[in-house]
């Protein structure tokens, strides 16, 4: 102890013994302290990476040109109109170097090929993170400062979505996420306004519950509310994690306020038809192509069928027989806006189909549910729950107003500051992880959270997260010239009696006309220019498939001759393309010779048989439509115009534009128009 004291005191004397010495020592310490600051700069990370890069390229064959392009110091990409300063290229030195394609060592590897120049778009617009930073930790994960870390690569498509409001072929995840925002009804509760000012509109069709008691029982509603996925694995209805009492009270309210519709309880007395042929049900279901829209779970547990309508695996547990018959007779009586077409079924067909569907049931489903009639207190409590949970945001419910702005708006969710987010313990402090967790387990963020539990796959949650991350404030503030607008759905409505007929048949559920409608079936905007009247009449009477590889087909609607004629006339008169010359004629002379020349062009020069079938015996092309009777289906003017430039008539079609000469196009047209189908082969034009 004494020794330490002596040493300390002698050290003190040696350093600060007299004023001159003390001054010298203090000055020296200050000098060293001041020298540390510039020294730190010299040993900074980016200096180290630039030295490493020079070492890396030193021994390469293209060292000279690489060295010539290398500039020491801090690099930056400055985009004043986007408010972006990116210094990433200070360390990521090989991004633009095509020669470094073989280098996989970060930060020197080459950027994968993208349609944009790196210098024009910078890095953080797509990758997030802090572009201005010059150290790895600050740039990639400056979480401590509450700044957004770099975006995980699996959400990278969100970067594209900031400018591209349209669908890009290269961004399947973003496209899926965007369609899910509409299809899963997210936008019923969360308003999303796109940068161009349009609102995202839901494309799902949550049924009205105004007449629910006609359709189903209170017991089914209870079981459904408790676990929607148990009834239908593919439903978009989320699980609200309701207690038995709550589910019972909600069902009590819904049943008590439901108003009956005339017709829903009428019995169709044609039961005898059912027993006649047990295969009549399945074959009618198949003939009507119900599965184009409705899915059914097969024995292996896989869903087979489309997703436009609800899954029908256990429809027998849900639908009351009388309601089902009324629905099949005319769905629009119960729900005026349903996407389901009005099939003109005969009473006997209705009975067969209803009986077949009633058979699709699961005797275990809801077997133990027995509810006593709801009391006034229960009904009142049910209503309170419906208001609290926002059921009316999606469903029409008697006595409950549709709530406005029920859930937080998501128009700029992709730029939500981290400081405004309450993260769960152990969660990565990043917006992407917050969004993805919120979608996966909304209730983990507290018991007062109303958002229900959705059943989604990882791919789906990632897609939704990508679509949400694309909704940044930058996408709203950027110059209009950078924005690629979405193709807007119009509110096109066919006119007149034929228009009413088309609404009844729900043509737009599958077909697209004048930028409105589904994408399951061909666009009909210019159908009138394309097809021949006689063919259309026959097709509507008995639709056959044009594309052998497709499972989904046009159903038969049992139209009356009058309706059929009206519809055909309307389509031919109205859906005319302005670019098709209605007076187009093929050269009459040398008809046979031209046809033969066209055949050669078809088979040898252009090898069309790779995708199309002309002779069912020899050709194997399954990609495009069958052409065996194209001559009696399409107009010559359309075929000619199509051959000259397919994309001009239908943007995005995969038919290649072969830049045919006029002569070749005419010869091919002549050949194709000579194909009149099996029964009429060889008839003169």
């Amino acid at each position: 102890m004494q020794r330490i004291k002596t040493i300390l005191s002698s050290a003190w004397t040696a350093l600060f013994g007299d004023p001159v010495r003390a001054f010298g020592v203090v000055s020296l310490v200050l000098l060293i302290a001041l020298a540390i600051a510039p020294a730190k700069e010299h040993f900074s990370e980016w200096h180290r990476y630039q030295r490493q890069y020079l070492k890396l390229i030193h021994n390469r064959g293209d060292a000279l040109s690489l060295q010539r392009r290398f500039q020491p110091g801090i690099h930056q990409i400055w985009l004043p109109n986007l408010g972006v300063v990116d210094r990433c290229t200070t360390c990521h030195l090989g991004l633009n170097e095509a020669g470094l394609a073989d280098v996989h060592q970060q930060p020197f590897s080459k950027h994968p090929a993208i349609p944009h120049s790196l210098d024009g778009f910078g890095c953080v617009i797509c990758h997030g993170g802090q572009g201005a930073a010059t150290t790895v930790s600050e740039a990639h994960s400056s979480e401590r400062a509450g700044e957004e870390p770099i975006l995980p690569a699996r959400y990278i498509e969100s970067g594209c979505g900031q400018c591209h409001q349209d669908q890009l072929p290269g961004t399947p995840q973003l496209n899926l996420g965007r369609s899910m925002l509409r299809r899963y009804g997210c936008v019923h509760c969360h308003a999303i306004t796109l940068p161009d000012g349009t609102k995202v509109v839901a494309t799902d069709h949550p049924p009205s519950l105004a007449h629910i008691a006609d359709k189903t029982t209170r017991e089914w509603i209870f079981s459904w509310l408790k676990d929607p996925q148990a009834y239908s694995a593919s439903t978009t209805m989320p699980d609200f994690k309701l207690s038995d009492t709550d589910a019972s009270d909600i069902s009590a309210y819904l049943v008590s306020t439901s108003t009956p519709l005339p017709g829903d309880n009428a019995t169709l007395d044609v039961k005898s038809a059912m027993s006649a042929d047990p295969s009549a049900g399945p074959s009618l279901y198949g003939e009507s192509f119900c599965s184009s829209c409705h899915a059914v779970q097969n024995a292996a547990g896989n869903l087979v069928g489309g997703d436009l309508g609800p899954e029908l695996t256990r429809i027998g547990n849900k639908a009351k027989p009388e309601w089902l018959k009324a629905w099949l007779q005319n769905p629009r009586t119960y729900d005026a806006t349903t996407p389901m077409p009005h099939y003109r079924f005969t009473p006997q067909q209705i009975a067969i189909l209803a009986g077949y569907l009633q058979g699709k049931s699961d005797s275990d489903y809801g077997a133990n549910v027995h509810l006593d009639p709801g009391t006034a207190v229960q009904i009142a409590h049910g209503r309170k729950l419906i208001v609290e949970l926002g059921c009316a945001a999606c469903h029409e419910i008697n006595g409950v107003q549709k709530p406005e702005n029920f859930a937080p708006e998501l128009s700029s969710i992709g730029s939500k500051p981290l400081a405004q987010i309450l993260f769960l313990p152990g969660m990565e402090h990043a917006l992407s992880s917050y969004i993805v967790t919120k979608i996966r387990q909304p209730r983990a963020f507290g018991t007062s959270v109303k958002m229900p539990q959705f059943t989604l796959t990882t791919a789906q949650t990632d897609a939704l997260t990508t679509a949400l991350l694309a909704l940044t404030s930058r996408s709203r503030s950027m110059p209009d010239s950078l924005r690629v607008a979405e193709i807007q759905e119009t509110n096109y409505q066919p006119a007149g009696h034929a228009g009413k007929l088309m609404t009844e048949l729900a043509c737009l559920s599958c077909h697209r006309i004048n930028e409105r409608g589904g994408d399951m079936a061909p666009d009909l905007s210019w159908e009138g220019s394309a097809i021949q009247q006689q063919w259309l009449v026959g097709f509507l009477k008995n639709p056959n498939t044009l594309r052998p590889a497709l499972i989904r087909r046009m159903p038969r609607f049992n139209l009356s001759d009058n309706d059929n004629k009206e519809l055909t006339d309307y389509i031919l008169a109205v859906y005319q393309s302005p670019s098709i010359d209605p007076d187009f004629t093929l050269p009459a002379m040398n008809a046979a010779e031209t046809v033969e020349h066209g055949r050669q062009l078809f088979y040898s020069k252009y090898a069309c048989q790779a995708c199309h079938i002309v002779d069912a015996k020899t050709d194997k092309g399954y990609i495009g439509p069958t052409l065996t009777q194209v001559g009696s289906r399409l107009t010559a003017a359309w075929v000619y115009a199509w051959l000259r430039n397919p994309q001009a008539l239908r943007p995005g079609t995969i038919e290649p534009n072969q830049n045919l000469s006029d002569d070749d196009a005419r010869a091919l047209t002549a050949f194709l128009m000579s194909l009149k189908g099996p029964g009429r082969r060889g008839t003169k034009q």
């Binding site: 700069e41 300063v85 201005a132 600050e138 400081a419």
Partner: protein
Amino acid sequence: MNAEQTIEKVRGSRIWRSVFRSGTGNSTLHRALAIQQNIFLHLFATKVRKRMVRFSATWYLGTLTLGTFLILVITGILLMLYYHPSVPQAYADMKDLQFVVSSGLFLRNLHRWSAQLMVFLVFAHMFKVFYRGAYRTPREFNWVVGIVLLLITLLLSYTGYLLPWDQLAFWAITVGSNLSSAVPLVGNKIHFLLLGGNQVNANALLRFYVLHCVVLPIMAVLFIAVHFWRIRKDGGLYVQQSEPKAQAPSDSIEPAQEVK
């Protein structure tokens, strides 16, 4: 000595005399004039007791406070070259100091730590003055000036807090400015005046910037000048009455220049 003669010659030259008004000579008068005739030094006493400038007398707390203030002025001016008091730019400018400005982080840290140190030193200085009884007659007014300087120091520290425009700054100023709303009757008016609005935003940032870089430093310089001038007028660092009697004998009067 030759060197000394040369120095004397330089000091006697016309150029020297035109710059430094006092002439050569080692007389008490000349030494006193050297202090008195210099605009910067005339605020100080022309004569100081030698033991009064010993470390033990004041612990140099006032001088150190002035030292930190000078560091703050110099680094502050340099920082002003890199900083825009605007909402989209302020935080980015602060980060750029760290990322691309040469020794920018050093500059910023020097400013920040000197500011912390200055607040600490001001308090220490006041404690020392208080416990030594140096606030008593005739120095009551200088004590009051010191209190004003304390307030200015605290306000400088507070206004500087907002300028980084990060979350800490934003919420600290939100909370701090809300305190002013508690003033009876005019509280909300003061709050509005301080922030230039009802919330901490662009106007508040600009106001705090102007206060921090213009208004408060000028006030500080003025009051520091008054403070120093009063030290001299009130009789130096230490008055006879407050001295312990035992230390009287070795007391001698020396010209201020000898202190160095």
